[in-house]
């Protein structure tokens, strides 16, 4: 059943992942010992502010990290194999077929000089053994499934002829064309208008049922995340600070950061003088604060928080927090 995590059900299991970027100024620990798990047909939301490392996690799964970045430690388990130990050609077989990704800027994420149809066909041709005429049919089929009208005409169009929302649909068509087990959606609606956002989320709801895919949905907007997700993982400054199912997070979040994030969501039905703001700035990842990374901005911080890094603790079944208040 959804929401209950048993290791046997896990489609993807990230253990202690460490991805660092080696810059001239120093080492940026973008992802520092992060663990999480996505179960079958589950949608996991990965939430955090800009720069907290969530995109880097996504890129690490598919091993798309390039110089000066490097995955330096940890394990990523998928279909019984550690992805970090597989060869590059094995990874290529996975990308786009078993694990697919959708990106943040749909218009700039599609190659402007090739037609939409040809870009989708490219993915199909690469991973599936089909005849030429079949490819065309499949492209039309998948474009129809993502809600693009007159797909046989529109597949000959170029990305600049598609609106932002349509580009995102096309990207999803490309990602889903080979029936992936896991779809990674990296802030898919962030750059779209609100109305289009809603459409895309609806689309994702329909598609995940049709394709039985697990989804890793990355974003910084709790509102968007809560529309689709079963479980939520909250990240801050390269680390996981809390993870639980959707209801628990909204009703009984424990970590001060999570609580502050939830408080910051403007709400119509509550009267307030000012919007709640988390004071301070997101820290530089080159020189993160000592101890708990959130402590400079935390209302509940104590002396210990500056010295000791909190470990992840399971408060209740399925609810984990990394905060010294609870240890």
């Amino acid at each position: 059943m959804k929401g209950e995590s048993t290791t046997n059900d896990a489609v993807l299991k990230i253990d202690d992942l460490r991805t660092y970027f080696f810059l001239a100024e120093g080492v940026v620990k973008a992802v520092d010992r992060v663990s999480m798990k996505i179960n079958e047909e589950e949608t996991l939301g990965l939430v955090g502010e800009s720069g907290c490392g969530k995109s880097t996690v996504a890129h690490s799964i598919l091993r798309l990290i390039r110089q000066p970045g490097k995955i330096v430690g940890g394990e990523i388990w998928f279909e019984g194999q550690n992805l970090l130990k597989r060869s590059e050609s094995e990874m290529r077989k996975l990308r786009g077929s078993k694990i697919a990704m959708v990106f943040q800027n749909p218009t700039s994420s599609l190659n402007p000089v090739f037609t939409i149809g040809s870009q989708i066909a490219e993915a199909i041709k690469l991973h599936q053994n089909v005849q030429k005429h079949e490819i065309k049919e499949k492209v039309i089929d998948i474009l129809g499934k993502v809600g693009i009208a007159s797909p046989s005409e529109r597949m000959k169009d170029y990305p600049h002829e598609f609106s932002g929302g349509m580009c995102q649909r096309a990207m999803m068509a490309m990602a889903l064309s080979c029936n992936p087990k896991l779809l990674i959606a990296d802030e898919p609606t962030t750059n779209l208008d609100v109305t289009i956002q809603a459409q895309i989320l609806d689309l994702m709801r329909i598609l995940r049922k049709e394709f039985n895919a697990s989804i890793l949905l990355i974003g910084h907007d709790f509102g968007v995340i809560s529309e689709l997700c079963d479980r939520i993982v909250v990240m801050y400054s390269g680390k996981v600070v809390e993870s639980a199912d959707l209801e628990t997070i909204f009703k009984s979040a424990k970590h001060p950061y999570t609580k502050a994030l939830l408080e910051s969501i403007p709400r119509i039905n509550i009267e307030r003088e000012r919007l709640h703001v988390i004071p301070g700035d997101v820290p530089e990842l080159i020189k993160p604060p000592s101890g708990c990374r959130f402590h400079p901005r935390c209302e509940k911080a104590t002396e210990v928080c500056a010295k000791k890094e909190p470990a992840i603790i399971e408060i209740k079944k399925g609810h984990e927090v990394a905060c010294l208040l609870y240890s």
Binding site: R95, N105, S109, N111, Y158
Partner: protein, 324 residues
């Protein structure tokens, strides 16, 4: 918009440009002081009745705009003028020499593009490597080298000292060849150093363009998307990246056609190749205005055609342009 419509649009724009060019060239030549007929003879002044004939034919006693129209009319009928100094029609002089210039330009240009693209792509992919650094520095040096000096140095080293190549002319004078293959080989030997001079400098220009375009393209989002689909890196680079990187390169080549001709002039002069460039220099020294006017128009037309070709190539590669 289809390619045909785009082509027609471009052609329509070219026509006023062409006329503007004729105006500029005409104006330039007619800024020279004095009676043109005095100069047309060069060292040997023309007979008075010949001068009178010229005056009537070109309408030299009429106001300037009328003169322009008379000249333009002749131009459009294919009459490029007659050079009294050299005693032949301008068209004859040009057609005798045009093939050599075209050969030199095309050869040098195609080679430069090919080399620059290969080296530039590799340099961009291996950014920050020794390969990249040394190619970039080499390109900078090539780009800063005066082309005529390079020609001189090449002649000095390879022709005079080492004797591997001839110093001038497009073929060995006075030799009869047993087979056309023999003739071709001889010709290529003569064309080697001139082409090398041009290729060195142009490849340097183009390499920098290709490299910086590739570097820019490789940071784009759609490249990450391509990789996330599971494509081989080679496909990502040569199919997805290169096609986009070539766009600014094609634009640049189109713009710099004029520059390329400049290099050819110098090379033709030094290597005594009887092409249009050398004709230009020769006729300028002699102040043979009728020839210069006709020649300039022909060169301008060649440049226009070349840039039209570049525009077409660009539209073929970038679908966005067609929808402007």
């Amino acid at each position: 918009m289809t390619m045909k419509d785009y082509l027609i649009r471009r052609l329509i724009v070219i026509i006023p440009t062409f006329f503007l060019i004729t105006v500029i060239i005409f104006t330039l030549i007619h800024l020279a002081p004095g009676d043109p007929t005095t100069m047309m003879g060069g060292a040997r002044p023309l007979r008075e009745d010949v001068k009178e004939k010229i005056r009537i034919e070109y309408g030299l006693n009429q106001p300037i705009p009328v003169q322009y129209l008379i000249w333009l009319n002749k131009l459009l009928h294919g009459d490029l003028g007659y050079s009294y100094i050299s005693g032949s029609s301008v068209i004859d002089m040009i057609s005798a020499r045009i093939s050599l210039t075209i050969e030199l330009q095309l050869l040098a240009e195609l080679l430069s593009i090919a080399i620059a693209v290969v080296l530039g792509v590799i340099a961009a992919v291996k950014h920050h490597s020794i390969y990249d650094a040394s190619c970039s520095v080499g390109a900078l040096i090539g780009y800063s080298t005066p082309d005529f000096w390079l020609a001189l140095m090449l002649i000095l080293v390879f022709a005079v000292w080492l004797g591997w190549f001839p110093t001038s002319r497009p073929e060995t004078v006075g030799l009869t060849f047993t087979t056309p293959f023999h003739a071709l080989f001889d010709h290529l030997k003569h064309m080697f150093l001139p082409t090398l001079t041009l290729v060195t400098v142009w490849t340097a220009y183009l390499f920098r363009m290709v490299r910086s375009a590739m570097l820019e393209v490789l940071t784009q989002d759609y490249i990450t998307t391509a990789r996330s689909k599971g494509l081989k890196e080679r496909v990502v680079i040569y199919k997805h990246a290169l096609r986009n990187a070539l766009l600014p390169v094609v634009t640049y080549v189109g713009y710099s056609i004029g520059l390329l001709f400049t290099g050819a002039v110098v090379v033709e002069e030094i290597f005594a190749l009887p092409g249009l460039g050398q004709l230009m220099v020769e006729r300028s020294e002699a102040r043979d205005y009728p020839t210069l006017m006709g020649l300039s128009i022909v060169i301008a037309i060649m440049v226009l055609i070349a840039s039209l070709c570049a525009d077409i190539a660009y539209a073929a590669v970038d679908p966005r342009i067609r929808y402007d």
